[in-house]
Subunit: 104 residues, 2 copies
Amino acid sequence: MKARRDVFQAIADPTRRAIIGLLAGQTLTLNTVAENFRMSQPAVSKHMRILTECGLVVVVKHGRQRHCTARLTALEEVAKWAEQYRVFWNSRLDTLQNLLNKNE
Amino acid sequence: MKARRDVFQAIADPTRRAIIGLLAGQTLTLNTVAENFRMSQPAVSKHMRILTECGLVVVVKHGRQRHCTARLTALEEVAKWAEQYRVFWNSRLDTLQNLLNKNE
DNA sequence: ACTTTAGTAAACCATTCGGTTTTGTATTTA
DNA sequence: TAAATACAAAACCGAATGGTTTACTAAAGT
């Protein structure tokens, strides 16, 4: 289950996050995905490769088309990482004012 | 409260995620942070700048030192974004086997 | 059979990234 | 006051990013 590419780096790009949003809940052809962006199809193809390399998307050949499906299990790692700090951002100590005072 | 830099891009780098881990719960000097990494002080300084630009860290001048404090509220955006897909990765539809079948 | 469609591959490009070293500048300390 | 400390700034560098265009290939329609 080892991803060759870091999922944090994969979701760093807004276009790729948008692709994930598009694919959540529905399988789409690469072309259909590309139609949703103002960039060339090869550009989208590259993004898709990065998403597949970290396991966020699975692409299945289907005739001359590529069926892209999001595999969002890979996002659990991200959620867990961020969640571990929830206790900090929930505490009232995390206000900007507090930080500034604390450094006095 | 708009960050000039994207928090998703900020956490894409493993060093910066490590810095966040270091600063969670404790304020440290820039130098102290730098001692935890095998890279030059200016390199850490650059990372810190990126972290402050997206609001993940607040740096306060204190004499000749810089006191760095994590401000993890900025991570809520990440957690929320990932969380919205939990329903997908929790469903049994998200197994690899299922994806492959679905594309038949 | 020919043409269109869906996609990959390759070459290219400007910009950003992540690091370095070197230098400069306040601020402490001795 | 001189030396050490804690940083920032700048110049530089190779590699990665995100995009392009221009072939090329394979599958589907006509």
